[in-house]
Structures are given as structure tokens and as C-alpha cells.
């Protein structure tokens, strides 16, 4: 199992992501810099971490979505390589058009940093198969721009196709239909604002995020 964590200028959860992947898979992911023009060959899994890439200039994730490395990530995602984007990584994936919609400023204008209750809306996906359908899990959130927006037709399509992976139990940031995480049409790209990598070991006080990494990484190890 060969994985990579991408680091952009301003990423700050890249190490946490790498630690979570190594903890669950036993293999340390490669650390890839945004300015690299090509991805390492043969990647099985790519993670885009949280942070404030490029200081959130212009729009969160907008500059990072145009980094040299993103061409390779878009191509890999289109080939079916699993890609996980957390927080700023989710913003980057929407800006790169790998996922629909956009992440806007939280409706209440404030930065939210706390543990949020989520509902697993689709436990059949590559990333969520270790959860139960409808399971309630607690995952930390830390964001200012997590207010998910898409037009009604897109939201209806996402819901109808089972592409809403996670929903907030409470309306914490104004997201349309309380959406916390969405999948692409092929199911190999997941973007979510909450941070599963911050809930993987006992020292975190909560291990509800671990099943996400176990689900996707164990599935990859079996292939």
C-alpha cells in the first residue's frame, strides 16, 4: 500500500494525516510537496490535509487547486485512485472541481473549533464501510469556511445518488442540508470538513475517525 500526503504552503494537518495513515496501515505515506510537477508512481491512496493553504487568499483552496501537483492528482482521481480531502483539502477538491459545490464562510461568521456529532449517511462507500448506516460519530471540526453550498439540483442529485457521506447532527455552520462530507460520482473521492485524523488514538480522547482510515486502507490492502 503506497500512499501520499500532499503539503501546500500553509497546510498544518499534514503530519497528523500522515501519522493517522501510518498508524492504521503500518506504512508511512510519502510526503509530497505541492510544487512537484509529478506524483510518485503507483500511489494507492492520496490525502489532502487541512490547513490554510496560501493563507486562504482569494478563496479557501483556490490557489492550491492550481498548484502543479494538482494536475497529477486530478488525473489520478479520474483513474480511480482514492483521494481523501479533509477541511482545507475538501476546499481544494471543490476548487479543483473534483467535487461539486463550494465551501463558504460559516453562516455565523465565526471560526468553529470543537467536536461535532455527525451522522453516517452512506455506509456503503469505500471510505465509510467500517461504519454502520446512520451511525452517530463524534469528529473534531476546526474551520471558518465550512458552509457547504451547491444549487438545489446538485444537492438533490447528491442525495439521490448516496453521495452525502456525512451530515452534521446540528446545523453548526449553515451548510446546505447540513452536509459535512460528499463523494464524487465514482465514489473514490471524499471531501469532508471534520477531521477524522484527529480522532484515531486513545490520546485524542476519541477514536471515531479511525474506522474511516481502516475502511479505505484495509480495502486497498486487500486488492
Amino acid at each position: 500500500m503506497k500512499s501520499a500526503v500532499i503539503t501546500f504552503p500553509g497546510s498544518n494537518c499534514d503530519r497528523d494525516m500522515a501519522v493517522a495513515i501510518e498508524l492504521v496501515s503500518g506504512n508511512a505515506p510519502l510526503r509530497v510537496w505541492h510544487g512537484d510537477s509529478t506524483l510518485p508512481d503507483g500511489l494507492d491512496f492520496i490525502a489532502l490535509p487541512g490547513g490554510f493553504s496560501y493563507g486562504d487568499y482569494l478563496r479557501s483552496g483556490a490557489m492550491a487547486a492550481n498548484s502543479p501537483i494538482m494536475r497529477g492528482i486530478v488525473a489520478a482521481a479520474e483513474r480511480g485512485v482514492p483521494v481523501l480531502g479533509v477541511c482545507n483539502g475538501f476546499q481544494v477538491l471543490t476548487e479543483a472541481r473534483l467535487l461539486p459545490g463550494a465551501l463558504m464562510r460559516n453562516a455565523q461568521q465565526t471560526f468553529i473549533c470543537r467536536t461535532a456529532a455527525l451522522k453516517v449517511e452512506n455506509a456503503d462507500s469505500l471510505f465509510t464501510s467500517y461504519y454502520q448506516q446512520g451511525q452517530s460519530i463524534d469528529i473534531p471540526v476546526a474551520h471558518h469556511d465550512g458552509n457547504y453550498f451547491a444549487d438545489d439540483a446538485t444537492l438533490d442529485r447528491l442525495e439521490g445518488d448516496g453521495r452525502v457521506a456525512f451530515r452534521y447532527a446540528d446545523a453548526i455552520n449553515g451548510s446546505q442540508r447540513a452536509i459535512a462530507g460528499v463523494l464524487n460520482a465514482a465514489g473514490n473521492v471524499l471531501g469532508m470538513m471534520p477531521h477524522p485524523e484527529r480522532a484515531v488514538e486513545d490520546a485524542h480522547g476519541n477514536t471515531d475517525g479511525r474506522a474511516l482510515f481502516e475502511g479505505v486502507l484495509n480495502a486497498l490492502a486487500l486488492t
Binding site: 483556490a62 492550481n66 461539486p100 463550494a102 464562510r105 455565523q108 461568521q109 453550498f149 451547491a150 449553515g174
Partner: protein, 77 residues
Amino acid sequence: MKVRIHVSLKQGVLDPQGRAVHHSLGGLGFTGVDDVRIGRTVEMDVADDTTETQLTNMCEKLLANTVIENYRIEMVG
């Protein structure tokens, strides 16, 4: 050549910043403000032979997120 790109949120997209500013204007005693929406202006110096198509591409690829934003290109001269 100077160009201004005006980026604004689409109708129907809630503008939390605009709403907060609207609220503050009311708090300062400015009545009669029906709505406030916040946008962004990007001023650029570009080569004189820059085409409208090139400017449109800049907007579509980076300067605006057309999922939530509209843009308008103003040639200042």
C-alpha cells in the same frame, strides 16, 4: 491596460458577511438599507493586446468560483 474584475455572489447564495454588515449598519442607526452583499474587485494591469477571451479564462479558472460567484469584466483603459 487597466482592467477591473468585479466578483459578486450569485443571487440565491446566502452572504453571511453581507448579513453581518447589514446588521451593523442598522446598529449604527442607518435605516432604510434593504440588503447588503459583499463582493471583491480585482484590479489588473495587463498587456494592451489582452483579449476578452483571455480575461474570461482568468475569471473562469481562478478569479471567480462560478459555483457561487458571478463576475463582470470592466476595461478601465
